[in-house]
């Protein structure tokens, strides 16, 4: 697992690198944003940890150029600024997550892990998590070698959740994403699909947590995402 850390403060960069390395990740470090778009298209990175306040072009601009070059590498933005508009701007600009300094190492590591898992889960025609594999072109799901029977709705819900591993997803969002113009689904129906999926995914070591009154969080049990 390879990470690119973009941070212009040497002391913080050093300790952040060691924190990430201690979890077995390979970390490269850049003090500036300019070379980043080139680096992420040349080499494979699982995650870019990107500080907003940089000398030269800032984190927002770096992210914009990365995405303009067609890079899908997940980005975790770090900021010393505390304005709420920074958060919105970062996420709208294509960042996958956002953390305000100072942060707890455990939380940084946990969020980095979620982002890399999510990225790894997605290949061109499949989503994988643990020993679950969702073949998008064949529209088939396997737990190990065992095929899993899913209804069309269950498939849609699982696809949506797998694309957002480790992320809290509102019921409303699932509903909006899986219903077409002429469908009239209630949030109760989503609950039914999720409870069926929960039973079917348990053998695969996947857990769908309920966030009371809000939605769901898909994680793999042994990985602790």
């Amino acid at each position: 697992m390879r990470l690119l850390l973009v941070e212009d403060d040497p002391a913080l960069a050093n300790s952040t690198m060691r924190a990430l390395q201690s979890h077995g990740w390979t970390v490269d470090w850049s003090t500036r944003g300019e070379p980043v778009p080139q680096s992420v298209t040349q080499d494979h990175y699982d995650l870019v940890v990107l500080d907003i306040g940089l000398a030269g072009i800032d984190g927002f601009e770096t992210l914009r150029r990365m995405r303009a070059k067609g890079s899908n590498t997940p980005v975790l933005m770090l900021t010393a600024r505390d304005a709420v508009e920074d958060r919105v701007r970062g996420l709208e600009g294509g960042a996958d997550d956002y953390m305000i300094k100072p942060f707890a190492v455990a939380e940084l590591v946990a969020r980095a892990r979620v982002l890399t898992r999510r990225a790894q889960a997605r290949t061109d025609d499949a989503l994988t998590l643990g020993n679950l594999r969702m073949d998008l072109s064949a529209r088939r799901v396997f737990v190990g070698e065992q095929a899993l029977e899913l209804s069309a709705r269950e498939w849609s819900v699982l696809e949506y959740l797998l694309g957002r591993v480790g992320k809290v997803v509102a019921k409303e969002q699932i509903l909006q994403s899986i219903t077409g113009w002429d469908d009239a689904l209630s949030e109760n129906a989503i609950e039914v699909y999720v409870s069926r999926l929960r039973a079917k995914l348990e053998p695969a070591g996947l857990r769908i947590r309920t966030v009371r009154g809000f939605g769901y969080l898909l994680e793999s049990v042994e990985g602790g995402t």
Binding site: D9, L12, D82, A83, V84, E85, P102, R111, K167, V211
Partner: protein, 465 residues
Amino acid sequence: MSAASGASPSLRRSLLLWLLWPLLLIAPAAAGLQYVLALKPALRAFDHSLGATVISIGNFVRTSPQGLQFEMSAQTERSIRTNQTDAVFYVVTGPQRELLAGDPPLAEPPISLAAQEWHFYDARVFEQAVRVAALGVVCGDAVCQVRVAQTTGAREALRNDMLAGTALSLLLLTAALVVAALVATSRGLLPMHRLSRQLGSRSLADLRPLAASEVPREAITVVGAVNRLFERVDAGSAAQQAFLADAAHQLRTPLATLQTEAELAVMQPHPPELSATLHRISAAATRAARLGSQLLSLARSDAIARSATPTEAVDLKHLTSLAANEWVPRALAAQIDLGFELQSAAVNGNAFLLQEMLDNLLHNALTYAGAGAQVTVRTNSTRGVTRLEVEDNGPGIAPEDRERVLQRFQRGAQNLGRGSGLGLAIVSDVVKAHGARLLLKEGADGKGLLVRVTFESAARRQNTA
């Protein structure tokens, strides 16, 4: 302005003082002059009519070969002595001051008068105050004297009437001027009162310049100075916000380094005797880092609350949904069941401040509720009243501590040594900045803590006010 009138000089009072004390001097002087000037001719008229009586009595003095004669009929004498108000006395004396007719006491004191010479004087006759007119009358080759006296009743009555009249006109004039002065100062100061009301009713954040057209010319310099002060405060507040943004950046980075290094030290292999120390360093670094962030938030929320930062429509449901992704994993890590009951809840406010408020409420709930607890965030809005609630079923805050924990750097008795004591102070500041209300009470079943922030729409506030 009126509240400070006890100590500071009052414009109204000094205006009144300078209008009224000259009046108090001038009005009596004018009245005195009027009295004297009017009284003199009136008294002269009295003397004149007294003189006419003298002349008519003088006509009765005759020189004949037998000597001087004075013959006046009893009827004439009666008519002379008859007067509406006063007693009239007369005396006629010959050249050697011999009594020819009349009341002898009036002949005293002797006065020598030439022929046709008048003398008017005050005297006492028969123990009464009298005004006397005396005239030298030709009698043969010599000069006789006729004196007529009249008691002063009519004169006193005139004097009293004139005094009363003057006093009354003085009073009326003074009263009219005092009323005019009071009205004039009040009306003249009305624009000042309007100005002070206008300033007094402003929110701290309202630094728009005052319109010079609404104030009198005399106050334009004051308004100009106030407007320049507003500009400086506004610029100062903008500079302060810029400084805080810089300070936030500068301070957060080393704090992040400190916290990370401390956590790394705990995680790395170390001599067991250092373990306790490293944990304490790590905990202290975490606390220092959070305290630093909170101080910056507090300073920034102060600056925002004081500046004319415009409000925006913020849906608390949306704000909470954004926060959910961040806080649910933290709640899971703390083994807390974080749940939501979110309905659309729009308020007018500052998104940054509201976000800070929510973050601090969630941080407190997750920190103090304890593992296994339930924390619920609610947003809803009915009939112009919008509520945000964060409820937990943890240990709660004792009723006697609830007021205190809203102060900066105050912690509940159960939580000494944990937290900065700033969380609820930030919440309280944000609530105040939004004109909302903050309520701390026990949660459902009398357990835990329920923090409720109530926003009322401006329209509703006006209705109930």
